[in-house]
Symmetry: C2
Subunit: 113 residues, 2 copies
């Protein structure tokens, strides 16, 4: 694909064409991207994606050099973004990737982690 010559311009007549915008799709994508754009959360998602079993959040608390509230905060962000689901068993909380991920989101995770 050749993207060679730049379009010609007339001085003072800037910007005739407008950019095509599809706001809804963009906002949905941005929400997922914001949730993933953090090292801790991206590693959490990667671990959940590679795990065949739900992962106790206490494992993340131990694996990362962060406080327990911070880990809980990050997992909450992933929950709010709809990326993970939780199952509580006794005093433990087991997390896994959401089973209702949109195909686009699943494809995103396949590329990323």
């Amino acid at each position: 694909m050749v993207k060679a010559a730049v379009p010609e311009r007339i001085k003072g007549v800037c910007c005739p064409p407008s950019i095509p915008l599809s706001l809804a799709k963009v906002d949905a994508s941005v929400d997922v991207l914001k949730a993933l754009a953090d090292p801790t959360r991206l590693q959490m998602v990667g671990a959940l994606k590679r795990s065949s079993q739900p992962v106790c959040i206490c494992d993340f608390t131990a694996a990362f050099d962060l406080s327990q509230p911070t880990i809980s905060h990050h997992m909450g962000k992933l929950r709010d973004a709809g990326l993970v689901e939780v199952t509580k068993v006794g005093i433990w909380a087991y997390y896994r990737l959401s089973g209702q991920l949109e195909p686009r989101t699943r494809a995103l995770l396949d590329v990323l982690v």
Copy 2:
């Protein structure tokens, strides 16, 4: 794939396994994700990806309801992330997707925009 039963736990013995971490890859991905995790920048990248020609940044300044410094700021972030390249012609600045995008990054954009 069945991710059914949660692993058994012993109280007070939390977190035996550690999470596999590959920091370098994660950090690189996070940089790209941060650059894309903004509605304006994601739309910019989408427009550049769909355009067969480099796009004058003045088009973005006109298309978005944002000031010229803000548009320049966002494009600078995309530049810093290595996602776009610029060609200056006279008083104009034409942007296009970088030609040296990593395969992973290109796959990411294919999913996103």
